[in-house]
């Protein structure tokens, strides 16, 4: 564990952080507004970031609203953060060529990504990243594309001051303050940022910025802000550890109730920062001499996901929803040592029919005929 350094970065000096990252060769991504949501895109400085923005999220809806404060991070999250940057939604794994004598040759098209710096990552995103690292980084042969992109990542986290109504990171133990896995973390105040380092890389950059130490009143203000963020969260999981609590109830009638609402669209799995399923397929060239072997995000809500001849093992939505939630909250404990849910609330907001499993869980865990 590297020693933590701290400093105060006035709002007027925010640009210096971006400049330092550019000097170090990073392509810098930060939150911008696109199509009514917040996404991470390449920026050149703080002027590209929205200010005072608030996100109004409820199950089934996501809306951005202009606010008064001049703050950069007075919102909670958008539909995606780090997942698509590391686990590419579509990736070519190899190309096969058929030579004139019929021999096959294979070439990998390993991406050669520029080192990425991402500003504005939240506590839940960092926890999800730690889980993805365990999944894609396991064994003697970790996932090559993921490993490559992961290697040179510089993460500037922000403590959440304004959780959305859908957030429940307090109950999963993941937020609202960034705990680990970042290079730098920012606590935002009206006057600027309290910056703390979380890695040697971060410490070096902080040293280059040569910031004055934060005043104790700032530390106190941030603490109050975090307490407020914590107490603003109303949703919670019944327990952090539901190991075997869902798997032991595959026939609970409430699964049918969920299935009656769920469209099996898979939105929840694509916005969830820990969902890792993908499928592979070939894309043959028209001349028949070569073919790309690629992979794309997949979802346990598709029929193809569990297909084995002569049909899908999970043919009904009931089985698919059960698989999703049981995997997320239950099997993950055996697979990677904790729940697969980091409480980001994305699957609530982006579900077209507004399913909120924090409301369904007590029913799934209760007596079948309970009220």
């Amino acid at each position: 564990m590297t020693e933590e350094s701290r400093g105060f970065l006035e709002r007027e000096r925010f640009r210096e952080l971006f400049d330092r990252l550019v000097l170090r060769g990073y392509q810098t991504l930060a939150p911008v507004v696109r199509d009514g949501t917040i996404v991470y895109e390449e920026v050149s400085g703080p002027e590209d970031l929205p200010r005072g923005l608030r996100d109004l999220q409820t199950p089934g809806s996501y809306r951005l609203e202009a606010g008064e404060s001049g703050r950069f991070f007075s919102w909670a999250n958008g539909p995606q953060a780090l997942k698509p940057l590391l686990f590419a939604p579509r990736e070519i794994l190899w190309e096969t060529r058929r030579e004139s004598d019929g021999a096959l040759s294979f070439s990998s098209s390993s991406p050669s990504p520029r080192p990425l710096a991402v500003i504005g990552i939240r506590a839940c995103d960092l926890s999800a990243l730690a889980l993805s690292d365990r999944h894609f980084g396991k064994g003697p042969f970790p996932d090559p594309g993921y490993a490559l992109r992961r290697r040179d990542l510089f993460l500037v986290a922000v403590d959440c001051s304004h959780p959305a109504d859908t957030c429940f990171c307090v109950s999963t133990g993941d937020g609202p303050e960034a705990q680990s896995g970042f290079d730098l973390a920012l606590g935002e105040l009206d006057s600027g940022f309290l910056v703390r380092s979380g890695s040697e890389k971060g410490r070096e950059l902080l040293r280059e910025l040569s910031l004055p130490p934060p005043e104790s009143s700032m530390e106190e203000a941030l603490k109050r802000q975090a307490d407020q963020a914590r107490s603003s969260q109303t949703r919670r999981l019944p327990s952090r550890n539901l190991r075997n609590a869902l798997a032991s109830r595959p026939d609970h009638p409430h699964w049918n109730n969920l299935a009656a609402r769920c469209l099996s669209c898979g939105n929840c799995t694509s916005v969830c920062p820990t969902c890792f399923c993908f499928s592979e397929r070939e894309e043959p060239a028209l001349d028949g001499h070569s073919s790309l072997h690629l992979r794309e995000w997949d979802s346990c809500f598709t029929a193809g996901h569990s297909y084995i001849h002569p049909g899908p093992l999970r043919g009904e939505t009931r089985f698919r929803y059960r698989q999703w939630l049981t995997h997320k909250l239950d099997y993950w404990h055996d697979q990677y040592g904790r729940s697969g849910c980091v409480g980001c609330g994305r699957c609530l907001s982006w579900c077209p029919v507004g399913i909120d499993f924090t409301e369904d869980l007590p029913l799934l865990l209760g007596e079948p005929d309970g009220h």
């Binding site: 058929r98 294979f106 396991k138 042969f141 595959p250 399923c277 592979e280």
Partner: protein, 276 residues
């Protein structure tokens, strides 16, 4: 696993045997860099690919001591297996593997082996038959109980009858429907279990559709077989075969990595649940 699971190599088809109208065997020889020899244990599988179409998981049915080639026996069910059926000597496929854990062959040395297979002929068990027959003195009695839906689903009829009686091996066949010319029993494969007597030396290896495996397990447990001496091989959709794509999950298990062969006691809570 010693070979990169994320990248294929080529294999050339050296031989093709038609086993039945919809079943064929391909003998494959790895091409390219052969400095890493192709080693496997019975029950492991490869991802075998047809350029432009995709890859499918196939068990390796040949003997692990044959170092120059390996065999896959394939039933035509769809796109990729259908395309493979049209390939012949000189054609190439892609190979990733071997994957999975395989049957416990060393751990069951000296024991009486009972193999129970059902449904559409069970490739994962073929490798065990071959393995035991080739090392007859290393194992106790070998009994094969094989059930098909329909007499015409049976292939390797000659091989089965050749096997019967050699070195004390016994083969029992049954068909759900029976029919003219059928010499085996009629009824489910579980009926064949009465032909064996379970002892402390018995190990059973089972492969087939889940309901058949569950019925077989029940009957064997009733006969006094210990849960620890029961092994099953499972099938799930598989894309990566290396524990990443999520398709093969059964409960907390990635079947491609911790299976496809499981000790019954380790998997019993996850069997027999519809849609799991």
């Amino acid at each position: 696993m010693d070979t990169d699971p994320h990248f294929p190599r080529a294999a050339i088809i050296r031989d093709r045997i038609q086993e039945a109208p919809t079943v064929f065997t391909l003998r494959l020889e790895p091409e390219g860099d052969t400095s890493v020899p192709f080693r496997f244990t019975p029950g492991q599988f490869n991802m075998v690919g047809v350029m432009g179409l995709g890859e499918v998981p196939l068990s390796i049915v040949s003997d692990p001591s044959d170092l120059d080639f390996f065999d896959h026996t394939v039933r035509i069910v769809g796109r990729v297996t259908g395309a493979m059926a049209r390939m012949g000597p000189g054609d190439r496929v892609s190979i990733r593997g071997p994957f999975g854990n395989g049957w416990p062959m060393d751990a069951t040395r000296g024991r009486d082996i009972v193999l129970v297979s059902g449904g559409l002929g069970c490739a994962p068990l073929v490798s065990v038959v071959n393995y035991v027959v080739r090392r007859r003195e290393d194992f106790g009695a070998l009994t094969v109980l094989h059930g098909v839906k329909n007499p015409r689903d049976l292939f390797w009829k000659e091989r089965f009858s050749r096997l019967n009686g050699i070195g004390g091996t016994r083969v029992f066949l049954t068909s759900d429907t029976g029919g003219s010319g059928w010499e085996g029993a009629v009824g489910p494969v579980t009926n064949l279990i009465e032909n064996i007597s379970v002892t402390k030396k018995t190990t059973a290896k089972i492969c087939g559709p889940e309901p058949m495996m569950i019925a077989t397990v029940r009957k064997l447990l009733d006969q006094g077989l210990a849960e620890e001496d029961l092994w099953v091989s499972l099938e799930r959709n598989m894309q990566c075969a290396a524990g990443f794509c999520g398709h093969c999950q059964l409960g907390e298990m990635f079947v491609c990595r911790s299976g496809p062969v499981f000790r019954y006691s380790e998997i019993k809570n996850r069997l027999g649940i519809r849609g799991l």
